[in-house]
Amino acid sequence: MKHGRIIGFLLVLLGLLLAAPMPVLAGDVPLPHPVKAVKGSQCVEPVDTMRREHMNFLKHQRDDTLRGGIRGAKHSLRQCIDCHAIPDPKGASKDRTVGPFCTSCHEYAAVSIDCFQCHTAKAEDGGKQSSRWRHKAGGENLLSELRTHLQGSTKEARP
Amino acid sequence: MTSKPILQVIDGDSAGYFTLVGWFALFVLAGLGAAWYMEHNGHFVTGMSNQIVWGTPHVFAVFLIVAASGALNVASMASVFNKSAYKPLAPLSALLALALLAGGLAVLVLDLGRPDRLIVAMTTYNFKSIFAWNIYLYTGFFFIVGVYLWLMMERRMVRYSKPAGLFAFIWRLALTTGTGSIFGFLVARQAYDAAIMAPLFIVMSFSFGLAIFLLVLMASYHWTGRPLGDYVLRRLGKLLGVFAAAVLYFTTVQHLTNLYASEHHGVEGFILAGGSVYTALFWVGQVIIGGIIPLAILFHPVTAGSRSWIGLASALVIIGGLAQVYVIIIGGQAFPLLLFPGMEESSSFFDGQVATYAPSLPEVMLGVSGVALALILVAVAIKILPFLPQTLDDASIDPHFKAEPAEADASDEEEEDAAGVGETAEATPGT
C-alpha cells in the first residue's frame, strides 16, 4: 500500500522528467541564431572554436589581466562587446548592447552567466576613442597610433 | 552496576511532534525568504552598512557555531574523560553538535553577498586566511563527528569510538580557536586583536553548548514522556555553573587587560560605560542575566537541584550568550576605527563616529532560522535513528543510586569503556 504510493509518485516524477525536454525534441524551440557582429568581419578565433571555448578564453584572460596585469591580449570581453553589441532592441537607449547576442544562445542552453552583473554590456561608443587594449598586437597598434598622431587624423586607427 | 539504557527512536507521530516540526519548518522557510529578499535587493535593506559590515546574522551564526562545538561536551566527557554516566547521552550530544553547526553555517552562507558562489569558497583557498582554515575546520568537524557518531552507534565498531572521541575533542578545540581567532587576528580594530579571543570562545562554547544541550534534553524527555532522573540534570547543571563562571572570568581578564593599556581606553569606555545599547547588553545581558543569575541558581542549595531552575539557568545562559556575541561583533564594529590615534576625525564616511545599527526584520528572521534548522534536524534525526536513551532515570544512570544521588561525582571516572554506549545502542531504527 505504502510502496504502491511511492512507486506511483516515482512514475509521475519520471513522466514529468521525460516530458520536460519534449518541446525541444518536437522542434518547438528554434535553434538560436545569434546576431551578426556589427563591427569587424573576422572573429579572433574561428567561429566553431569560439562557440565551444569562449568561456575558457574569457576566464583565462580575466585572470591574466586582473591578477597578472597583462593588458591587450586578444580574448577580451570588451572586444567581444565592441563587435557584437547591437542597438538596443527595445529602443530604450541609444547605446549598443551585447545582451541579445549572449542571451540568444545562453537562454537556449539554459546557462546563466553573471558577467554583466559587474561588467557593462554596453559598447563604448559615444565619441571617445577606446583604449589601445582593444587591439591585438601592441607594436603594430602603437605604430598606427603614432601614424595617426603624425597625420593629425581623427579616423580610428586599425592594425 | 547500572542497568544499560537502550537507545530508541522516538515515536514522532503525535500531533505535538508535527506541530513542533511544522513551526521549525516555518521558521526555516521564513529565513530562506529573508535571505532571498536580502540577496535580491542587496544588503541595503538590512541594518548592515559599510560601518557595521557584520550584523545580526553573524551574531546568530557565530553563536550557533560556538555552541555546536560545546554541544559535544557531553560526548567528550563520556569518551575522553570516561564519565560513564554520560555515555548514553553521547550520541545525542554529537547529533546536536552537528545540527547546531549546520544551522550556524547556513546562516553565515546565506548572508554572503554572493551565496551563489559558495562553490568558489569551497574550491579556492587563500591559506593565510583564518576563514579558509575555518572552512576546513567546519567540514572536518562534520566528517569527524559523523564518523565518531557512527562508531558509537555501530555495535561492532564501538571499541574505536574512544580514540575517535578524543580526536573529535581536539578538533572541536581547534574549531573554536579558529572561530575566536576570526576576531583575535583583526589587528585593525581596537575591540579585537587579542589572543584571549580564542580561549574566551572556547569557554563560551562549553557554556552555550551545554545550556542548549540541557534544554534539548529536558524538552525531548518531557515531550516523549520518557523518564529523566535528577542525577544527570544536577551534574550537568553544576558543570554549566562552572562554565558560566569561566566565561565571566575570561571576560574579566579580557577587559582588565584592555583597561590597563591607555590605547584601549576609548573602546573599553564605550563598551563598559558608554551608555549605549552595548553597555546595557554587556552588564545586564551578559554579566547579570547570562552570568550572575545562572551562577546563583546553579549553586544555591535550594535551586541547584530543581530541574525547572536548571532549565531557567540554561535559558538565561543562552540569552546572555547571544548578548555577549552581539556586544563582541556589533559593539566591536560600532566603535570607530582609529586612523589617527589621539586625534578627532570626521568625514562623510562616518570616520570618528560611533556607528548606528538596528537589526532589521530579515536579518533576525535569517538568524532565527539557523536555530530552527538546528532544532528541526535534531527533531527529525531522533525519529529516524535511535539517539535518545529509553530512560535516563536515576536507577539506570547513577552508579550510586542507592547511596547519595547528588554527590556521586568522583568514583565513577574509572568505569570501563566497554560498558558504554555501543552495547546500549542495540536498538535499531526499526524498533
Binding site: - | G42, H43, S49, K128, A188, L339, F349
Partner: protein, 246 residues
C-alpha cells in the same frame, strides 16, 4: 607580423607620449607617471606604485580628487550615506587639545602587507606584483572579512544593484570594492584620476604618484627629500600611500 625589439618599442612609446602631449590643446598638461607597460607583459615587482600626499597643499574645502574618482570609476550612490560606497573620502583630522586641524584624502593605502589580502578566504582580495591591491570580483563571495580587517575603512560593500558601470571599472552587487589606483590608467601610462585632477583641475599638486622603485621618479625624489609618514604606521603595513605634514 611586425615585431619590434623591446628597446625600439620603448622609444616609440616615449615618442608617443611626447607627441600626445604636443597634440593636446595648449594649457592642458598630460601627466604621465611612466610609460605604459607593454602589451602582453605582466606587472612586475620591479615597480612599486606609490602616492605621496602633501597635506600642506590639501584644503578642507576641496574635494576635487573625490569627484574625479567618482566620475572616473562610476561609484555614484543612492543617497543612502550608510550603504553608499566611498572609494576615496576627505577626512578632517583635529587635534583635540589645540583645535589645529588638517584635511586629507583617504583611500585604499595599497599596503605591502595588506590585512585584507591576508584574511580573504578565497584570494579575491589580492596584491598585484607592482603593489596595487585589488578585489578580484570574479571570486569575491561578499563575506566582508576584508572590511573587518582594513584599518583604514578603505573598502565598501556594494549594497545594491549597479547599472551603467564604466567599462574599465566593473562593479556589482554583493562584492567588495575599493580604490584601484586607477589600475586601468596606470597600465596605460596615465596618472590616477585623483592625482590628475588635483594637479590639473584643482591646481594644487598635493598628490604625487609614481614608481617608488625608480630613483628618478618624482615620488622617489620627494620621499628621499622629506620625511613622510603613513596612517597607522604602528601596524607596519608598509603602505604605498604616504603623507607629509601630520
Amino acid at each position: 607580423m611586425n615585431r619590434l625589439t623591446d628597446a625600439t618599442r620603448r622609444k616609440l612609446l616615449k615618442g608617443a607620449a611626447a607627441l600626445s602631449t604636443l597634440a593636446l590643446a595648449p594649457g592642458v598638461m598630460l601627466v604621465r607617471p611612466a610609460v605604459a607597460r607593454e602589451t602582453g607583459k605582466p606587472a612586475t615587482s620591479n615597480v612599486r606604485w606609490g602616492l605621496l600626499i602633501d597635506t600642506a597643499k590639501c584644503d578642507a574645502g576641496c574635494d576635487t580628487c573625490v569627484t574625479a574618482c567618482r566620475t572616473e570609476n562610476g561609484w555614484t550612490g543612492h543617497d543612502r550615506p550608510q550603504t553608499d560606497p566611498q572609494w576615496i573620502r576627505k577626512v578632517t583630522v583635529t587635534d583635540k587639545r589645540s583645535g589645529a586641524a588638517l584635511s586629507l584624502p583617504v583611500m585604499c593605502q595599497h599596503c605591502a602587507e595588506p590585512p585584507c589580502v591576508d584574511v580573504c578566504p578565497t584570494g579575491a582580495s589580492m596584491k598585484r606584483a607592482d603593489g596595487i591591491v585589488l578585489v578580484d570580483k570574479h571570486i569575491c563571495i561578499g563575506c566582508r572579512y576584508c572590511m573587518m580587517a582594513c584599518p583604514f575603512k578603505a573598502r565598501s560593500f556594494v549594497h545594491e544593484d549597479v547599472t551603467d558601470q564604466k567599462p574599465h571599472a566593473p562593479r556589482g552587487k554583493g562584492t567588495v570594492e575599493s580604490c584601484t589606483f586607477c589600475v586601468h590608467r596606470v597600465d596605460d601610462g596615465r596618472m590616477p584620476a585623483c592625482v590628475e585632477a588635483c594637479t590639473e583641475k584643482a591646481g594644487r599638486g598635493a598628490m604625487i604618484f609614481g614608481d617608488l622603485n625608480d630613483p628618478n621618479s618624482d615620488i622617489a625624489k620627494a620621499v628621499s627629500k622629506h620625511v613622510t609618514t603613513r596612517i597607522r604606521a604602528d601596524l607596519g603595513l608598509d603602505q604605498g600611500v604616504m603623507y607629509r605634514g601630520f
